[in-house]
Amino acid sequence: MSEYRVLPGPEHFLPPAAASMGIQLPNPGEAHINGVIASEDKAYEEAARQFLMAKVPTIFPGPLVLWAWNEKAAKKATAIRHLYNTLKDCVQPGQKAMLIPMPDYRPKYPKINPEVEINPNHPNLTIWHNKIDCCMFVGVHCHQANLSLKIIRGGTSCYTIAMCAQAGHEDAMLSFRDASVEKIMKLADTIKRLKGTVQPRLETAKNGASS
């Protein structure tokens, strides 16, 4: 097993792809935490804990759930909205839950408006601007998600979670695979259950994700 661990950065001028460091994706029914295969139950707990600890926990929904291109996508979008509302209800004063879309992947130069969106070509701008210290990708095409996750790991200290509808993301610090409405709802339930039991790291994260 690889000794490499997928941890919050800033890791490197050009961090490696976790797969090239020997990190493997989970099999169906599993998840990974920091590159180590874990049970999904453990991953729900850890993802909820990271969200509740963060000063600016943020969900980044991508095009696969932002557009009602099929019935499943529309249902997922409703579940994600529920997850965001749950998160908002469960964080403490001083914490700020956010929902920032990745509506498309077009390169936007000289830069995007980080107040309103995140872009896979320069996701660090949105992380830095909003001082986001924990984020979850959902509904982003796998290639674009990995592109972003590596850049985020390279230049920020943000904790990254992937709720992936396919095989998962080893470039995130925590990844689910085969995401479904049920899995998103279960994460929301876990956050609700852990409400008040997790100490937010407001002091340490005072300045948000490092640049």
């Binding site: 077009r106 390169p107 130069y109 674009q144």
Partner: protein, 403 residues
């Protein structure tokens, strides 16, 4: 939208039943058939639920492109046409794959080289096109005989590269290749190579799956990049590449993109092991002497081992099935006891020996050879001779025979 699994058990317009791929390849009855390699390619494509085949059928190395035209005439392929050159063919394959089609094509030798610009583009765009490479000579003076030098050029394109030994490998791996390359965490083109002429033009007994069973269709909505979105990368990148922007962010994005392609090759390892039953095959790797080879050099190596056994020399064999992903750990493990490692190759540069030397400890154990090239055959006797000479045993010269 029908997902591939939801169609299993139903029939396509030719009356073929969409079958669970694992069952098709491992449980369905097999019929022994006496075919050339080119005919075997046709039979595999017949069972592949292929949407588009684009051909540049002048290559004398393989009849496959023309034979697949017959499949189109019979109604087994959605669309089939000729490009005006190999470069055009590969560009048209990209267009079809961008549009969400399962695409198949073939090439060889100079055609591979002419089309080369497209292969990293395919990989960068995450297009799971399958390309058969029936290797032949690439340099002047031209040769239609087998020579695997072109594989060396494919190794760093970002494509998956497999090297088949036999027509049976070819039949199975065409079908299995789609299963690996279309996984959403892989989703890369596959160059499925063989040594042209030896495999394509000679007849062999190949066990075929039933012709009325086929793979489920490709589902482009599992792609890791948007399917046919002209405003988003990778399609947009064709007209608005990162390189047009001179700043740190655009370079970092491009770098991350390249890393992702090679990460996808790494992810293919798990799927390739599952479908190919390992990235290498081994026989007697506890022996002091090993032959490590790919393609038909494996067959010649196997025969050389038999000849050596008659003389009391014990020798093991490693058959390298995938070159990308490169079976680094497997080769290290298989060669750990070997004192001498011989790498017979059908090319002048010895690219496989170089890869192995870069992989294992104590690389001085690797004897890069014997080599033949330009279409020469590799009689097992010259492998035997190379091994015996290295061991300090008396060996006759095959070249001197008849003098």
């Amino acid at each position: 939208m029908a997902t591939p699994h939801s169609v299993i058990g139903t029939q396509n317009k030719k009356g073929q039943t969409y079958t669970d791929p694992w069952k098709l390849l491992h449980e369905a009855p097999r019929t022994p058939s006496f075919f050339t390699g080119s005919e075997v390619i046709k039979e595999a494509v017949r069972r592949s639920s292929c949407d588009v085949m684009i051909a540049y059928p002048i290559t004398p190395q393989s009849e496959a492109a023309a034979l697949i035209g017959e499949l189109f005439a019979e109604g087994y392929i959605g669309d089939y046409f000729r490009g005006e050159s190999e470069f055009a063919v590969m560009s048209q394959c990209a267009g079809a794959a961008f549009g969400g089609a399962r695409v198949f094509t073939t090439t060889a030798g100079p055609g591979t080289m002419r089309a080369m610009e497209n292969f990293p583009m395919w990989a960068g765009a995450r297009l799971p096109i399958q390309m058969i490479v029936t290797c032949r000579g690439i340099n002047s003076p031209l040769s239609i005989q087998p020579d695997t030098l072109e594989i060396a050029y494919l190794l760093n394109t970002g494509m998956l590269v497999w090297h088949a030994e036999t027509a049976q490998d070819f039949f199975d791996w065409i079908l299995k290749g789609y299963m690996v390359s279309e996984e959403p965490d892989v989703h890369l083109p596959l160059a499925l190579c063989c040594d042209g002429f030896f495999v394509t033009h000679t007849k062999d007994v190949v066990n075929l799956t039933p012709a009325d069973m086929c793979l489920p269709p490709y589902d482009p909505y599992r792609s890791p990049v948007p399917c046919m979105d002209m405003e988003c990368p990778p399609v947009r990148m064709m007209r608005d590449p990162f390189v047009m922007k001179s700043n740190y962010i655009s370079y970092a994005t491009h770098a991350s993109w390249q890393q992702e392609i090679w990460a996808a090759i790494e992810r293919s390892r798990k799927h390739s092991i599952h479908w190919l039953n390992g990235l290498i095959d081994t026989e007697n790797v506890d022996a002091d002497i090993l032959i490590v080879a790919s393609g038909t050099a494996v067959s010649q190596g196997r025969e050389a081992i038999r000849l050596l056994e008659e003389e009391g020399v014990r020798c093991g064999l490693v058959k390298v099935k995938t070159l990308r992903p490169w079976p680094e750990e497997e080769i290290r493990e298989a060669t750990k006891n070997a004192k001498h490692i011989f790498v017979p190759e059908f090319n002048v540069t010895g690219w496989l020996a170089k890869e192995i030397r870069a992989t294992i400890p104590n690389p001085h154990r690797v004897h890069a050879g014997p080599h033949v090239c330009g279409g020469m055959t590799m009689p097992p006797e010259i492998i035997v001779s190379e091994i015996k000479t290295a061991l300090g045993m008396k060996s006759f010269s095959l070249a001197g025979r008849g003098s």
